[in-house]
Symmetry: none
Subunit: 299 residues, 2 copies
């Protein structure tokens, strides 16, 4: 009757019921934030009812969620969990050992800050508006930046129609370049070494009058006057090569902006997409819903 909170949670996983497992899992992954939670806040996050939280704590041997937290206090003991402390800890280790990782963290953090600064610029607002309203949105990325375009596209597609990822599979980029420029816009993700395709595509798009947004690294010297907006994302984090990881954060912020711009009306669409996914593929926990919904195609 005296195991650590973590141990008890882990043990419980074996026998616990569905809701209890969800709780245990979440608690395990968020152990360091638990002290700040309350039974109600937890319940909301994992989408169970409040009594379930209390009951679960009782089944694993505590009096209440609060009691569990009190035990946590002793468990964590000297381990830091305030972000500040943890950051400091990482730094210290970085200073001690020959670990270049932690300095990378600081650089990555500063990249994030830079991105959030970008998100307050007029250009940002402009791009968000365009991504929300242009009939056709294209995104593209080559080499290692292909995934970034993918991320933007996949998410935007939940919010609106007419979003497509470009690639050179067809050999020409004709999809966008011969379409009505007033109806299209393009987002290019790029970083060193810049693919010739990015530049050529930007040139042609400009020629065609299609608005182009370039998300790139600080070394890009060819974009400035070819594109309408250029978002520069820091990429040097002490890793063996540039990391464009934080472009994903930028992409997500853009998507978030588009959501805010579109407002309520996207909800129906998101619901429909989810419904369709449920129907054709299925989600964990819910079997495939094989009954096509009459109201599901709002595209």
């Amino acid at each position: 009757m005296s195991a650590s909170v973590r141990e008890r949670l882990t043990t419980s996983l074996a026998t616990a019921s569905k809701a209890d497992r969800i709780l245990a899992n979440f608690m395990l992954s968020e152990l360091s934030n638990l002290p700040f939670e309350t039974a109600a806040s937890l319940a909301a996050k994992v989408e169970v009812s409040e009594p379930t939280v209390g009951r679960f704590c009782r089944t694993i041997g505590y009096k209440s969620f609060k009691d569990l937290k009190d035990h946590l206090k002793q468990d964590i003991g000297q381990q830091p969990w305030l972000v500040g402390d943890r950051l400091r800890e990482l730094r210290k280790q970085a200073a001690a050992g020959e670990d270049q990782l932690a300095t990378g963290l600081e650089l990555e953090i500063s990249a994030l800050v830079a991105i959030y600064e970008l998100a307050r610029t007029p250009e940002w607002a402009l791009v968000v508006k365009r991504l929300a309203t242009a009939p056709c949105v294209y995104a593209v990325g080559f080499q290692t930046e292909r995934g970034m375009a993918q991320i933007l596209v996949n998410q935007l597609q939940y919010l609106r129609d007419g979003v497509r990822m470009l690639d050179l599979a067809g050999g020409s980029f004709a999809e966008i370049l011969v379409s009505d420029p007033a109806r299209s816009c393009l987002v290019i993700f790029e970083a060193r070494r810049y693919s010739r395709l990015s530049r050529d595509l930007a040139i042609e798009a400009k020629k065609a009058g299609i608005p182009v947004t370039l998300v790139t690294d600080p070394f890009c010297d060819w974009g400035r006057d070819l594109v309408d907006e250029m978002f520069v994302v820091p990429t040097e984090f002490n890793q063996f090569w540039e990391s464009t990881a934080q472009m994903a954060s930028l992409a997500n912020l853009l998507v978030n902006g588009v959501f805010l711009e579109l407002g309520q009306k996207v909800e129906a669409r998101m619901e429909a997409v989810t419904q369709l996914y449920s129907q054709f593929t299925g989600y964990v926990g819910k079997p495939i819903n094989r009954t096509p919904q009459s109201g599901s195609n709002l595209a």
Copy 2:
């Protein structure tokens, strides 16, 4: 109106009244236990009345003791750091307007910290080693996480042979599931709502004996005993839905680890890939190199 809890407490020491000073001092020395305290428990410990605690918190700018705790949670420390001023600036604006963006930034930063902590775990080292040495590496992601898998795959492919992205285009995942399990490993990126495919794939991979690494959000309750390693990435950044953006950072860190593991020998390959890209597509600044290089196919 935007200092860290620690800062505010320290500042208050100068002007505070007797009881307040006692409180501030106690809080400062017990900062890491604060989340477990309640206004009443604190009051008892320093022998002041409960309202005094609340009042004190209000005089230093919080709504209540609970509000102070909430800020503590996000407090990333007062250390002078790289981007301190800019971060502070963003925070100030956040405090002023009801701008949820900046608090999102703090959450995103703490997610980064969590990832860098992950990168120091034994599991991480294990996964890196496996990604570096397994003959076949597969990565997969569905819905909005597809891009994450893409990012990992595209980069790993620069470093080593035998890296492929999985999808259901063929309808069966046979590529990996009927291959020699001793030669393969799998990385799954997933987040709510979890695709049925992720789980089923994990189950089958486990059955087949293929090591599986799951990168997911804190809400995932089905992975724990289905996979060999589970990396949990925080995803709630005050945006309209979960943002898995920081998984990209995790992917890049993994790639970086693989690079360090493989060492010098990857350079030749990277050079060759670059050469081939130059030959077939070309880089900005360099025209297509149309002369095939005799030494370029090391694959």
